[in-house]
Subunit: 340 residues, 2 copies
């Protein structure tokens, strides 16, 4: 064990963001690496994820998933390799995912690390199309939204990690799919690379008019990643019995802006607006892998990744991901061997 590292750099939360997070809310610190005890492993993280839901955990509050603690490292999805093991189930060299992101090395019970199946060229796929974003898209469309093959589906933040997979899965199911994204380049990407039926730039022109033009017969399912003005447009365009899958309201996480003025459509059109958090749906993970892994292996799901390098750059990657515009698709921070 003499070649093992003695310290692991990690990102800690030093203060809770008030509105948009900034550098000052985070600290890069070094923690000693602990050798694995019985049934434990030591893992070198090679990839870690930054995701919108993490912003919610930076707030204090009892009603959300447990908040991140001040002075403690953040956590989140990471992919790594076992470099020391006292667990027969996880020999050295095993590729694993865990929730021990935001740090270079993690020691913990073997059962907290899921061994990943072989046969995928890029392990980071388990942070994306076959990770939390893909699983979120799958559960949102099917379990929350009750996707039907003749639905017209509108997806906001459609070039993002969750939205891009949600759109492709909805297309695979036979639905007509409309996406919104910021900028002409992303709009072209949705139509030309991901196979969306149509898409529009939410930053150009009136959002409601753009959606009405894209969906002249209305929409049936709205996969909402942003809230605010796009939710308002969706409410206006919903057909009766429409369903809004509330996956995220990124437009409202950092500022308490007024909500849509047309919520009364929820009554008149008999809409269902339903929120979810993916951690409640772990029991569906095997179904997700069964249904979606073959599509990924066959190249039928296109998944964009953008990379930042080094644990020290993880907070900025998180902030840039939240603000949008810099990255397309899943934002992954490369660590360890992957960063070299």
């Amino acid at each position: 064990m003499s070649s093992l590292p003695s310290t692991s750099r990690e990102i800690r939360l030093v203060s809770r963001p008030n509105g948009w997070p900034s550098d000052e809310n985070f600290e890069l610190a070094a923690a000693p690496v602990r050798a694995p005890g019985d049934d434990e492993v030591l893992v070198r993280n090679d990839y870690m994820s930054v995701e919108p839901y993490m912003r919610g955990r930076m707030n204090d509050g009892k009603s959300y998933v447990p908040p991140f603690q001040i002075g403690q490292p953040l956590s989140g999805a990471a992919i790594g390799e076992v470099i020391a093991s006292n667990a027969p189930s996880h020999p050295v060299g095993t590729l694993v995912n865990s929730d021990f992101g935001w740090r270079e090395y993690a020691t913990g019970p073997a059962k907290a690390f899921r061994a990943l199946p072989p046969g995928f060229a890029h392990p980071s796929v388990f942070l994306g199309a076959l990770g939390v974003p893909g699983f979120t898209a799958y559960v949102g469309l099917h379990d929350i939204g009750g996707l039907k093959k003749d639905d017209v589906v509108f997806i906001s933040s459609a070039a993002g990690a969750v939205g891009s997979i949600a759109g492709q899965l909805a297309k695979q199911a036979g639905a007509r799919v409309i996406g919104s994204a910021g900028g002409e380049e992303k709009v072209r990407y949705l139509i030309e690379k991901l196979g969306f039926d149509t898409a529009f730039d939410y930053k150009a022109g009136n959002i409601l008019q753009s959606l009405q033009a894209a969906a002249p017969n209305g929409i049936d399912l709205y996969f909402d990643n942003v809230g605010g003005e796009q939710l308002e447009a969706a409410l206006t365009c919903f057909n009766p019995f429409g369903r809004a899958v509330e996956c995220g309201m990124i437009s409202q996480y950092n500022e308490q802006s007024p909500g849509p003025r047309n919520l009364a459509f929820i009554v008149g059109k008999r809409l269902t607006v339903r929120g979810f958090i993916i951690i409640d749906h772990q029991a569906r993970y095997p179904d997700f892998i069964r249904d979606v892994a073959p599509l990924v292996q066959a190249g039928k799901i296109v998944f964009a990744e953008s990379f930042a390098d080094g644990i020290e750059n993880a907070p900025q990657a998180f902030i840039d991901m939240l603000r949008g515009g810099k990255y397309t698709g899943k934002v992954v921070v490369r660590l360890g061997n992957a960063a070299q």
Copy 2:
């Protein structure tokens, strides 16, 4: 048939309200009474209903239930007596309900008039506790809200026709029930007469603080009749997996005010916000009568009615009901024999 009336006074929509309705949107007119043809009956209406949903039908728009037509009589629930019949199923003297409200007499196919069971002292109960308001409360709590006996239930407009029954049905099911209403008198009524666990005056003090004080452990089900600020307070007070039954948003029917600023709780708390319209749920009517009629006959459901008299006063009764403050409970307009 010589004693039959020759004309029936009725209320017609002459223009669509822009915001709050006013006298000018309505016209009192006289129409000839038509003798019943084969399998038809002529009914003298004795009671007619004014209800919040009618405001929605005064708007034009394809997505709601069909709008009322300009120049035509309005419609809605009415209770009356068959005074001429060519249908063996509905002899003269049969007590019936129908959707031919807003007029003194109605001729139509017998199947459009439901014969009412005997044994109820006051026929107007079929406009209230056993009519659309009671049925709406029943479907909202059970089918839309998934009421459970250990729920904490918050009901806005709780002294209103739907809210007052919803609160009592929730109590009968074992839930803890909190109501809001306008004014101290209605608050006392909810607690002392209807058996609510607690209640508050939404016009006095801060709504959120009042709800937090009434529900220190949060709420699980919100039966929403008003939208706006009370919905915002409910979102803040919801426990995880809370359900909002969107029965009405009376605060938003007449003005497009901004929605709640805290819709992001829908995601974080995994809430379900679901609208409904009672006409979609006719198949549940027999279950409703089976479950609720015995409670009404046993005097276990208290139901307040307020009366206006005469078809000519129906528009003002409708307007006063919408604005609140004048009436408690169900607003019924007495016509025909009942008005004498």
